[in-house]
Amino acid sequence: METHLTRRDFLRLSSWSAALAAMAACNPLAPPSASTDSPIRLAAEAARTLHLLRRATFGPSAADRTRAAELGIEDWLEEQLTPDGDEGPAVAERLSRLETLSLSPSELAGLEENGRVVRELVTATVVRQVYSPRQLYEQMVDFWSNHFNVHIRSGFVFLLKGAEDQDVIRRHALGRFPDLLRASAHSPAMMVYLDNARSSQPSPNENYARELLELHTLGVDGGYTHADVEAVARALTGWSVTGRRDRRPLGEFIFREAWHEDGPKSVLGHDLPGGGKADGDRLLEILAEHPSTANHIARKLCVRFVADSPPQPLVEAVAKAYLDTGGEIPAMLRTIFLSEEFSAAAGQKLKRPLDYFVSSLRVLGVDGEVARPIAGLLELLGQVPFHWPAPDGYPDQAGPWLNSNQMLYRWTLALMVASGDLRGMETELAAIADEFTEPEALVDALSLHLLGAPLPADARQILLDYAPAAPASVQPQALAGLILASPHFQIR
């Protein structure tokens, strides 16, 4: 029997890996900083800081830990909530090789070979997650990319997603939710993905209308009816995207007056003006101001950053921050990260596959070329950015990911590290190995470096029992791989 995916599928898989593999720059091993406070307070502060870093970053690198220790929790958080425009040389240098990133949809459509469009966007996304110092910003980019999920393999969405990433998600990731919502509703990628681009009177398409209410704003139990869905669909008729027949560049938002249904409409008890694009504009204001939207966004943020079943008082506090500030995203994040509920939730989240993948690269301080087989594991782990087909985005809770496929490929990634054969990729392990040669000291140094904390005593002993079996030449790598494969690195 011959059963296999086609060569095209494999190329699709491996090609973005190749682009990721083409990265190279330096990421020096940052030394731990010294401090002079009392040991007990320092230990408690270190634990709080580590918990915050594990949630607010894609896995704390040595540099993150140093920076957070210098600034303290509150100042580090403020720095992350108000990042400057500089992504740093490690990102800039890598992105400079991705030529399609800066092209418009019509320019992308004109490319002879457009297979690299998706892989370069995915590569840029993972590069930023691994190397950007603006970690919380990248977390929010990922969060909103899933909240407003657009499947990049859906028709010609792949030509439009890059513009959306820049103009919608990245522009507003730490801004105001009403602005983000409005930008998303004007996003050609979203209009195409959820079919609103084809929605016209007299028989409008309900796809975007329904997900706008259910997923983007009110939430499924947010108090709307099927009549609301129909009215929203009618209000948004004509919100479309330029095509080849329009005398405008391809792939831009366009309001098609002739497709719009001008009759009276009532949504959630509000009458819409009943004319033209103002219907949809007013609709978006109504949705953004609705308490159900505040509650829905608050709950999802708490699931992302606190716990799979977050405490209700915290959800309410975050929703209040939304309503008090008109949807300021940093206000909600501040409420979350400085809450007692957050402090009490350490270690309760399973890393999603992407978290596991990126955090592995970050704690290893990977430099040079990311080996193609390692990059390909993100596909097998099942969370390549922009590749979740349904509009609800990748699952953010443990249930769907807690399975044998996940264990297998997490261990596979870890064991490739353990083998010491990383295909020319450099890590910070060599520097640790130079400094610590005795097994005890080596295990302790690796635990601190990779986990940010010592291993529990019994786990430490298991690694020490294993150590003599590892060939001396790759002993540090083998121990590091086991730490990455251990349960202690699966959580955040």
Partner: protein, 427 residues
């Protein structure tokens, strides 16, 4: 430990999920999973979930209804006509198959494929995510029970089975129907379900990992991880004994070269290997056809072709073994009768279900037909539901899987009424 040499060919294998050779390590699988006298007594159940809301009205066509043709000016499939391959394939004087489902005509005619029309979940939601959730939990309108209906079947079964392959999801994500206290394995590829490296090195690594996972502190998340670690280790051990490379289909079956075909072929291999498989779940997505879904060609006909070719190949491959296998095909809801302005269809309500197996009274379209005229439709213009999906599943669970505890599998449901589509499995 030797360096792992993961060649490009290895990665092609991993990535393309092909059934390729694998090195056999030093263990043999444990083939006896159940204590003597208390082995599973029922069929293997294969659940295929069509995600996105399959348009049942264009899959099993109600060709006798003028309302169908009036409502679907561009999407309707012509009524059966001898010699016309683009017309629907006649099943009864009322129903016919979409031409892309023609491969299912054979099992239908052979009496092993039953079709249930106007079936589904009675909850009125038009949300994909709520509808899928309700169906997979087996509790329409109710989200408080955290486990899936299949998980509860396994939990309440009167037999024991400690196989790591008692329940399997083909793919990377565990479906909600399998979430519960009995760990289900998830795998993409049998051939690739092993760790890279030489056997001795890997064995030592596995022992070390097992110790690390067993040593974790008392904590729900760590305990779940430890359970998954055990399942994964056992699965690797068991699958290492399978020579997936030499697997050949029987009876001339040819699976389609797509993910669905590969998933079904892997289930077939698990069934034939007698590893204690009781339930397998496969997802087939892409059915949310709001725009340009295609009448005789296009996205939906392509999916129908994949579905039919896969199921027909599975049926053919398993041959006589289908007497101990039941396949159930369902989707979260059907689609609106009236096509929209984009030559697509919006979310609807009632839908078609398929049940296939040697113990199924096939060759028949089951269910009371509610009609498509104004006044007969449900909600905003959807096919009504006359068969609760739980009645179909419960009949399969009771008669083919041998589990009587239906009230626990479908809590809160008290209207069990069987269509008499399944034969009681001899004990």
């Amino acid at each position: 430990m030797d360096p792992i040499r993961l060649s490009r060919r290895d990665m092609v294998r991993m990535a393309s999920f092909s059934l390729a050779p694998l090195a056999l390590p030093g263990w043999r699988p444990r083939l006896a999973f159940a204590p003597p006298g208390n082995a599973p007594i029922g069929d293997v159940m294969v659940c295929v979930f069509l995600r996105g809301g399959m348009d049942g009205l264009n899959a099993v066509i109600p060709h006798a209804e003028d309302a169908y043709y009036d409502a679907r000016p561009t999407l309707a499939i012509p009524a059966p006509k001898p010699g016309d391959d683009s017309a629907a394939v006649e099943l009864t004087d009322r129903f016919s198959l979409h031409p892309a489902l023609r491969p299912l005509k054979d099992p239908y005619d052979a009496g092993s494929l039953a079709i249930i029309h106007a079936a589904g979940s009675p909850d009125p939601t038009h949300s994909h995510f709520d509808a899928m959730d309700y169906m997979e939990r087996g509790t329409p309108g109710e989200k408080q029970i955290p486990t899936g209906w299949i998980a509860r079947h396994l939990q309440t079964a009167a037999w024991e089975n400690d196989s790591p392959f008692r329940a399997v999801a083909i793919g990377g994500v565990t479906p909600a129907s399998l979430r519960g206290p009995i760990p289900a394995a998830a795998l993409r590829s049998i051939a690739d379900f092993h760790l890279p490296g030489n056997p001795q090195g890997v064995t030592l690594i596995q022992e070390t990992l097992s110790s690390l996972y067993a040593s974790t502190p008392q904590d729900p998340l760590f305990e779940s991880l430890a359970t998954q670690s055990d399942t994964t280790m056992e699965a690797m051990e068991t699958l290492a004994g399978l020579d997936a490379a030499s697997y050949e289909t029987e009876n001339g079956a040819v699976y389609p070269e797509d993910e669905f075909g590969l998933a079904l072929s892997q289930v077939a291999l698990l069934v034939k290997s007698e590893l204690g498989l009781e339930v397998a779940c496969i997802d087939l997505g892409g059915w949310d056809t709001h725009v340009a879904q295609g009448a005789d060609a296009g996205p939906m006909p392509t999916l129908l072709g994949s579905l039919a070719a896969g199921l027909a190949a599975f049926d053919q491959d398993l041959g006589q073994r289908m007497n101990g296998v039941t396949v159930v095909v369902m989707s979260e809801f059907g689609r609106r009768l009236q096509e929209n302005g984009g030559a697509g269809t919006d979310h609807g309500h009632g839908n078609v279900m398929f049940v296939m197996g040697g113990g199924i009274h096939g060759g028949k379209v089951y269910g009371e037909w509610p009609g498509l005229e104004a006044g007969q439709l449900y909600g905003p213009g959807d096919l009504a539901i006359t068969t609760d999906f739980r009645n179909v599943l419960a009949e399969v669970v009771l008669r083919r899987l041998g589990n009587e505890r239906l009230e626990e599998i479908f809590p809160g449901y008290d209207s069990f009424s069987f269509l008499e589509l399944a034969e009681e499995r001899p004990v």
